[in-house]
């Protein structure tokens, strides 16, 4: 459930930011924004034309309608917001006996509200507001869960799922962003600022770093900062904490495998980051890929250890 919600919140923020681009930027920036979204999600929109359109904003706006529909309401798209919220709701239904009424009804009402809408209805008004609202709905849900859920294993698994998904999405987004906006090219500063926006890190970055969005510093912040809730380092730290609580003092067998993996992955950031050679984007992307692979392995270990574990009975 938490993974679907994390993804839904992420896509809402991507679209919210993309509407900023549509409103304020030239068509080329809008087109690059779409590329970043689709590349980070590993998806090619069916039937959509992603070729650059330099001069005709109207055509781009028509494309935007198709693409937003694809990401919000397309029935065949597993990353469409409606699908993600629907799956989160189905998951919530399966464990509803351990969720309180507020948690369930927040999610249920958000889903029913979204299901009752079609893009053509919201497009004529303020479509950006719709995605802001869906992003807020996900955060409200997580806030209520945070404030009310009993801190047992269920809660820690909820948080584990949330951070596993967040790290996956952030790594994929950074990877896509670096491909489109190489770090050694400072013409793209505004896009790095957009990236901070998607990761809800712009205000903190300005306060702690600079109003200038230098790519290296932005990456440092989004990957290595230990207090930014959307950074990769913070997410890995949270996973490590949850695993410690769930496994208790046990340090034997497969429970230790996930802990070992998380320790190794954190070491990649503690010791290998930042990658110092200027403009060596390939090594940054390799690091991001390694983190993604490790987090997937951790997820699989958690699954094997706590859910699909083998049953052994001692004879006699």
């Amino acid at each position: 459930m938490s993974r679907y919600l994390e993804r839904a919140g992420h896509i809402s923020r991507l679209l919210e930011t993309q509407f900023d681009l549509i409103h304020d930027r030239p068509a080329s920036d809008v087109e690059l924004g779409w590329r970043r979204i689709y590349r980070s999600l590993g998806r090619t929109p069916a039937g959509a034309n992603l070729m650059p359109v330099q001069d005709d904003d109207n055509i781009m706006l028509l494309d935007a309608y198709t693409l937003v529909d694809d990401l919000a309401f397309e029935p065949g798209n597993p990353d469409a917001l409606i699908d993600l919220l629907g799956n989160a709701r189905e998951n919530a239904r399966q464990i509803r006996n351990i969720l309180n009424h507020e948690i369930w009804s927040t999610l249920n009402v958000s889903f029913l509200d979204m299901k009752s809408k079609r893009l053509k209805d919201i497009w004529s008004g303020q479509p950006q507001e719709f995605f802001i609202a869906s992003s807020v709905a996900v955060r409200t849900f997580c806030g209520i869960a945070d404030a009310t859920m009993y801190r047992d294993h269920g809660w820690h698994f909820f948080k584990l799922g949330q951070y596993v998904e967040r790290i996956q999405l952030t790594c994929a987004l950074l990877d896509a962003h670096i491909t489109l906006f190489p770090t050694n090219d400072h013409h793209w500063e505004i896009h790095w600022s957009d990236l901070l926006g998607v990761c809800v890190a712009r205000a903190a970055f300005r306060r702690l770093q600079s109003v200038e969005c230098q790519p290296g510093k932005v990456l440092d912040f989004l990957i290595g900062d230990s207090r930014l809730t959307n950074s990769i380092n913070y997410g890995l730290g949270e996973i490590q904490k949850r695993l410690e609580v769930i496994s208790g003092n046990s340090d034997t067998g497969s429970k230790n495998t996930a802990a070992w993996h998380i320790g190794r992955t954190r070491a990649l950031i503690e010791f290998d980051w930042p990658v110092h050679e200027k403009g060596n984007d390939t090594s940054i992307q390799n690091l991001l890929k390694q983190i993604r692979t490790d987090v997937l392995e951790i997820d699989s270990q958690i699954n094997n250890t706590y859910f699909n574990y083998p049953i052994e009975f001692k004879s006699g």
């Binding site: 189905e90 239904r93 399966q94 509803r96 006996n97 351990i98 009424h101 369930w104 009804s105 249920n108 009402v109 029913l112 294993h153 698994f157 769930i246 706590y306 859910f307 574990y309 049953i311 009975f313």
Partner: protein, 498 residues
């Protein structure tokens, strides 16, 4: 058959001094049917008077808003069921009728006594037929009726249960006509609806807060505590703090909301078959902290699906080896397998005889007059009076497989007649009942709709009944079928203290 009777409107009762909102102005009272709210001359019954006065003082538009508020609360809470049609699965709320049905304390005491008596006799019957079967050898019930029933489980023979409780949870359907209450059927396998009883109460209580306070309505809020207590009492001998789980077929089952609701309210785990396993005659549940022994299973699966090694081999929903653990007495199952034989529509005919046989008492609440088509005279009577009778298929439930003679066409009756003659043992018939009616919300005011009651009776060491019931209402005008799958809805039932 149409009888001569006078239709009265409560809009003009002889001495009414209450200014009306129009809610009841088009409501018609037909003396053929007992009206729960009004006397035959259009006066509100004494215990309904406050409700009548209060609702009459609220503008109709506001009442419509209150009804919508109750429905919205169902939608927000996810109290829905799926309807599968051409456009895929559509979620719909269980229709809720905003007007409660009121029952006097004295009437309820009578019903409690009757229901307790009935469940005790039914449990005695099940203990007997899976034991010495004296009731059969004494000729009270024809043996072939029991042994030929598809719900009879020979695997249960010789199994002894704590306190001889086969049925822990019973939902008996009650109807009323001008002569009084009758038991229409007993649901002894996995009776459902109790969550709607509780949800209806919550929704209506918040919509009609002031009215609810005006009455002293007996609380039904401790139902899940009583259920937990009853389940704990049937735990295997020696287990003092049992681990109880609710076994559900899964999220796509139409009663899943209820399964989730009951598990949550009792604070027990909601499990599916693949969460459980059996080793060395004991049942275990997978948890994130390893295996945990299970002592009591409140199953919401049909017998056929609980254990593929004993019943249906293709069941993906059950637990291999569960029945073996049950027979060993290492786990309790509620309701026990094989209880369906006692709620079979033909066996129902003999419940009054069971009460006399086991308890040496006269039945407190009568059965509906029933004719067994397996008996020559019953068959003849049924075929001769098909246009006046309701014919039910013995193995069916939920309002399916039945013919409502007066509402059926001649062709439908002819087809059914051939079926009955070919398989008489599969059918029973009952007269078309003049089931009581109560005001329900229509588009422009209240309309009279037929209603029934499903109280839930719990049996552990003792019998427990909460003062309330899942009230059902046939919302289609003129319809007698109250099942939610057939256009029925829910109606809150208030049992009054005074």
């Amino acid at each position: 058959m149409v009888k001569n009777h006078q239709i009265v409107s409560p809009a003009n009762p002889d001495n009414s001094e209450i200014k009306e909102s129009g809610l009841f102005s088009n409501y018609e009272i037909d003396p053929l049917f007992y009206d729960e709210m009004f006397t035959p001359n259009g006066e509100p019954r004494e215990h309904y008077r406050i409700l009548w006065e209060t609702l009459n003082s609220i503008p109709f538009e506001q009442i419509v808003l209150l009804q919508e508020q109750a429905e919205r609360s169902f939608l927000q809470d996810g109290i829905t069921f799926s309807v599968y049609g051409e456009e895929g699965a559509q979620e719909r709320i269980i229709p809720i009728d905003f007007l409660p049905r009121l029952i006097n304390r004295s009437e309820w005491v009578y019903l409690e006594r009757g229901l307790t008596q009935r469940l005790q006799a039914l449990n005695c019957f099940l203990t007997d037929i899976y034991g010495d079967a004296k009731i059969l050898t004494d000729g009270v019930i024809p043996p072939d009726l029991v042994y030929g029933c598809p719900h009879y489980r020979i695997e249960m023979v010789g199994v002894t249960l704590p306190h001889d409780v086969h049925v822990t949870i019973c939902g008996s359907d009650l109807v009323r006509d001008n002569k009084g209450y009758m038991v229409l059927e007993d649901n002894l396998r996995s009776p459902s609806g109790v969550s709607y009883m509780l949800a209806n109460r919550q929704a209506i209580r918040s919509s009609l807060r002031t009215l609810y306070r005006s009455y002293s309505v007996l609380s039904i809020g401790n139902y899940t505590n009583l259920l937990y207590q009853s389940l704990a009492e049937i735990a295997p001998t020696g287990v003092t703090d049992p681990c109880i789980v609710l076994l559900t077929p899964g999220v796509y089952n139409s009663a899943y909301y209820e399964h989730m609701f009951l598990a949550r309210e009792m604070g027990i785990e909601l499990v599916q078959g693949n969460d459980l396993l059996v080793n060395n005659g004991f049942v275990y549940m997978r948890t994130t902290q390893g295996l945990r022994r299970v002592d009591v299973i409140y199953r919401r699966l049909d017998d056929n699906f609980i254990d593929p090694l004993v019943f249906r081999a293709d069941s993906q929903l059950g637990v291999p080896g569960l029945f073996h653990a049950f027979r060993l007495g290492n786990v309790a199952i509620a309701n026990a397998p094989g209880t369906g034989v006692a709620d079979d529509k033909a066996v129902y005919y003999y419940v009054p005889d069971m009460i006399r046989y086991y308890l040496a008492e006269e039945p407190i609440i009568p059965n509906v007059e029933t004719h067994l088509c397996r008996e020559p005279e019953g068959l003849e009577y049924t075929l001769d009076n098909l246009d006046k009778l309701v014919v039910k298929q013995v193995g069916e439930s939920g309002g399916y497989g039945m013919l409502v003679g007066p509402h059926a066409s001649q062709a439908e009756r002819d087809d059914f007649s051939l079926e009955i003659q070919a398989y008489p043992e599969n059918y029973i018939s009952q007269p078309t009942l003049d089931i009581s009616r109560a005001p329900s919300m229509g588009e422009n005011g209240t309309i009279p709709c037929h209603v029934d009651l499903r109280p839930f009776i719990l049996q552990g060491r003792e019998t427990r009944i909460v003062p309330g019931a899942f009230g059902r209402v046939a919302l289609r005008p003129g319809s007698l079928v109250v099942n939610t799958s057939q256009g029925g809805g829910g109606k809150d039932v208030w049992v009054l203290e005074n």
